[in-house]
Symmetry: C2
DNA sequence: ACAGATCGTGAGAGCGCTCTCACGCCAACG
DNA sequence: CGTTGGCGTGAGAGCGCTCTCACGATCTGT
């Protein structure tokens, strides 16, 4: 009964509702938009008419005059390695979606699959389809944040943009997390601690490397370039990096990998090389993804509040959108060490 | 130089372009929309003006008159277990996104986080924000497909809708895949083959169970309810199911799990119970997700063409949207057995 | 040479909504 | 009693675009 006659809503206009309710379009509009300056009686009539006709406002018409779309764009370029096997994006999207839903905003997902597609995405965002944009997972000197900002589109970036500041962003405490991981390894009695870093053109890579170095320094251990190997966040990359480290420093007894996937790759290589984990070598990963719990042995890892990151990005964006010209802001979320078997054992502390 | 003066595009209207180009609005509109009935000279002038002003059409205004939005909605309700640790959604989204991008459509992602939010989503879709909707991963008798169809919104479902037919859908060959998995186990010499099924209210669950049964029948093996345990696609659920099976049938020598995650859980339980994999028990999973390759031993699994599924869903949807009232169609995509160590060994064949 | 077809172009009518402004009403004020 | 001031309401002007229709110019056939 709620939904009714004329194919419910398709084609029912404000005007039709006004006629049925015996009021003017303006009054119906007020009721629909919750404007308080409407009489009791008129309001009742309008509500009944809306119900009866199954009226749903035409978003295009509304958007045309309000110049808002009540939706935001989420841009996720495709770093193929990261997307798979890592529930990072689903979780981030969930956080974003939750916060948006609570504010009655919609989410337009844009996945440029190659740099060539970026202009298309940029154009789309610039067209006013969305009230703002969330950019995630930028490589190198991505020009998009700046380009969008120049066009006056509110932007918030997920993860510290490598290209420098000048734009709002939300990030997890990569440095602190990595540092905590290393401290944990040192506490476990490890003294020859290697790291498998992420790509040098992503801040998640460089920041975790920085944290690793700070961790060593804090523990009074010396740096050694032979103990640092960069990879691409993938399992295969992690395995490859582990091989290099093992070749250069066979005496390695601790490994901090900047992602669980890479840690898993390292695990396989270590095992193949006859090293026992955690007896001979302790490993700590990053992300606390499902693979960490699944691996054998389960991986100690650094948990990052991904959903919260998504939510915070939305808050920042909408705040910024509502107050144009506000100064860029950054939010850093704390990480947390999750202990599992891969870092147990080891020598006495 | 490309982008220019007035803050590039924001606020530049068709009319402004027309004035600069010295033609009428209609002509500019024709050029923008690729209408061939435009003279060479006029076209050149218009293109130059567009370039100079950085004109981008206002999507709301366009949508208001064309009654199309050039975007489609993708509804992903949140079955928390499946979302994590399983790159299913990212891959599906990627397939969808690829196909949409090729046709210049946009993707609006809707993630109702609870059944209470579904009306909101339905309302949104019904408002004409999108030209059609893709629904994924339905549990039980989800009313949404029917409700949307009733409102005249083109719908395509991903995975056979449990509630029956009457709506277009794309699915992978779950029955065939499961059957192939069982056949593979039989070929490996296994004779006491259990299955860890998915939720009975999801077609991916029931269809794979059906395939398992067909596989046993085809191999001349008898069914045994004690060899069938349902779970929820999660690792923990898989572990739990494995324990039940082990308790009832300690002689089990083959396991077909309806997801890799559950297979991984089973693996841990088997190992904890002193069973060697694959020497004592062979395991085959489903999905061929990253965890399959990561597990120790790596899991034989059934690969499903997830990206292709996404693409096909889009094709079906747009076809349906362009030809209203067309009859619902279903598309079933083939699966493929991927052999890994978890099903090697075993007794002589 | 003229009728008719063809082609490029412009004028103008909306699409469905929001929002400003003005108006009529009635209570309260001096 | 006339005036001021809310308050609820309606009229109407757009928002920027598409698309139909009509019109003048050029082309074709006889």
């Amino acid at each position: 009964m709620a939904v009714s006659e004329a194919g419910n809503g398709r084609g029912v206009t404000l005007d039709a509702v006004a006629r049925v309710a015996g009021v003017s379009r303006a009054t119906v509009s007020r009721v629909v938009n919750g404007n308080p300056k409407v009489g009791e009686e008129a309001k009742r009539q309008v509500e009944r008419a809306i119900e009866r006709l199954g009226y749903i406002p035409n978003p295009a018409a509304r958007s045309l005059v309000t110049r808002r779309s009540d939706s935001i764009g989420v841009v996720i370029p495709e770093p193929p390695g990261m997307l798979f096997g890592d529930p990072f994006f689903p979780r981030l999207l969930r956080g974003i979606s939750t916060e948006l839903a609570a504010r009655n905003y919609q989410l337009v997902l844009l996945m440029p699959q190659s740099p060539e597609e970026e202009p298309r995405v940029e154009r789309y965002l610039a067209a006013g389809h969305v009230d703002g944009a969330l950019l995630v997972s930028l490589h190198g000197e991505d020009a998009m944040p700046a380009a969008l900002a120049a066009r006056g589109i509110p932007v918030v970036v997920g993860g510290r943009p490598p290209g420098g500041e000048g734009v709002s962003y939300v990030d997890v405490d990569n440095v602190g997390g990595a540092k905590a991981a290393v401290a944990h390894l040192i506490r476990a009695g490890r003294r020859t601690i290697a790291t498998i870093g992420g790509p040098p053109d992503m801040s998640a890579g460089t920041d975790r490397l920085e944290g690793y170095r700070q961790g060593l320094a804090a523990g009074g251990l010396a740096l050694d370039a032979a103990l640092e190997a960069a990879a691409d966040f993938t399992q295969e990359g992690g395995a490859e990096a582990m091989r290099r480290i093992l070749a250069a420093r066979p005496d390695v007894d601790g490994v901090f990998a900047a992602s669980d996937l890479m840690a898993a790759g390292a695990l396989q290589v270590l095992r193949a090389a006859g090293r026992r984990v955690p007896e001979d070598v302790s490993i700590v990963g990053f992300d606390d993804s499902s693979i960490a719990a699944t691996a054998e042995p389960p991986l100690t890892s650094i948990r990052q509040p991904i959903e919260e990151m998504g939510r915070e990005m939305v808050r920042l964006l909408l705040e910024q959108a509502s107050r144009p010209g506000s100064v860029p802001r950054k939010v850093i979320l704390a990480t947390q060490l999750v202990r599992r078997r891969s870092s147990e054992g080891g020598p006495k502390r």
